[in-house]
């Protein structure tokens, strides 16, 4: 009991301390030192209408590379922990097969989810959304069939190929800039016309790689957890 109360007091004290720390800050009117410079220069330097995309893939592209690697590391680590080695006996999970409504709904939703996911990814440099958000929708498209028809799961091998190739495509696109004597991850191919689908140089290619990678990564993550949870 004592630990409970002391933990509660600790949490309350922490909240108070954080509130004191943050309440004096200029909320609603940030200093915008680098932020304003990015807003001013991004249209000319990157050419993406969505400036968050310009930051994610341009100004802070290395962070995104790190993120992809974090997802890959998490999926690999989960594979290692849950320990179904490749090529070993495949136990079908003991989930009940879905009913008629779930199966029929899945059949209708699957193509729609694919289209929506790809649309969000390909318009990432123009509208809100992008590789991460679209990738999650793609992953949902491949996880939904697992609920409807647990007996035929998507194969891990195919996922592994998409994971590897999409991640490699991101880094290789970054390295391509070296051939033009530019710095790693420098945007190539010009900025194009602002707001057009084919614009912002290599950004759509990078976002496509991110989207496929995130989708495959999340799908294989969920599949590993499902296979294990079925025991």
């Amino acid at each position: 009991m004592l630990t409970r109360y002391s933990a509660l007091i600790f949490a309350a004290g922490l909240a108070f301390m954080l509130f004191v720390l943050f309440s004096g800050l200029p909320l609603g009117a940030p200093g915008m030192v680098v932020g304003q410079a990015v807003l001013d220069r991004a249209p000319a330097e990157v050419g993406a209408a969505n400036i968050v995309t310009a930051v994610v893939l341009g100004y802070r592209g290395i962070d995104t590379m790190g993120e992809l690697a974090i997802l890959f590391a998490a999926a690999t680590a989960i594979g290692l922990v849950l320990g179904r080695s490749r090529g070993s006996r495949h136990c079908p999970p003991a989930i009940q097969p879905g009913g008629f409504i779930l199966r029929a709904g899945n059949d209708m939703l699957f193509p729609l989810l694919l289209v929506v996911g790809l649309y969000i990814i390909l318009h990432g440099h123009l509208t809100p959304g992008g590789g991460f958000q679209g990738g999650v929708v793609l992953a949902a498209a491949f996880v939904l069939p697992v609920l409807a028809r647990p007996t035929d799961m998507p194969s891990h091998a195919a996922m592994a190929w998409i994971e590897g190739l999409a991640g490699a495509a991101f880094i290789l696109t970054g390295m391509a800039a070296l051939a033009y004597d530019r710095a790693f991850l420098a945007p190539l191919l010009g900025t194009g016309e602002m707001g057009a689908l084919v614009s912002a140089g290599t950004l759509p290619i990078l976002y496509l790689a991110v989207g496929l990678k995130v989708g495959a990564e999340l799908a294989s993550l969920l599949l590993s957890l499902t296979e294990e949870g079925g025991d």
Partner: protein, 148 residues
């Protein structure tokens, strides 16, 4: 957005962080610990978005043909994307570890598991200790838990 809503958001994000950290300390159940972690991370992410907010500004997306107006800071938004992805990966890994640990120890109680872990480490090391008095893994607890 008025000052009042802004500070409500601030209080909410800090409150989520405090609830999450308190939850991690208070819970003994592995699954609840993971949940508390994700609550705390949600608070941190909300805070990060909040500091990029600017009064009378629009989302940082340029629409052709519209005059440029003030936009909110886009850098915290990019950072929060990163931090959400990191959180998702770490939480999935924690869940996988919890699943495995339950399969081998038959419980999700952190206290019992830590005692068992100590006993296991000491047994491998060949040193005996008070902790080894607990029943070894794969004994009765596992069966009762499974039935329950």
């Amino acid at each position: 957005m008025t000052e009042f809503t802004l500070y409500t958001f601030l209080a909410a994000s800090l409150g989520l962080i405090a609830i999450g950290i308190g939850g991690v300390i208070l819970s003994r159940n592995l699954f609840r610990i993971v949940l508390a972690l994700s609550i705390a991370e949600a608070g941190g992410n909300l805070l990060l978005v909040l500091i990029g907010f600017r009064h009378d500004a629009i989302a940082p997306i340029i629409e052709p043909g519209r005059a440029l107006t003030t936009m909110v800071d886009s850098i915290p938004q990019a950072m929060v994307l990163t931090s959400i992805v990191i959180g998702a990966g770490v939480q999935a890994l924690a869940l996988a570890l919890a699943i495995r640990a339950r399969a081998s120890y038959g419980t999700l109680d952190m206290g019992i598991m830590r005692a068992r872990m100590e006993a296991d480490i000491n047994r491998v090391a060949g040193a005996e200790s008070a902790a080894s008095l607990h029943a070894p893994a794969s004994s009765s607890t596992l069966l009762t838990e499974r039935k329950a």
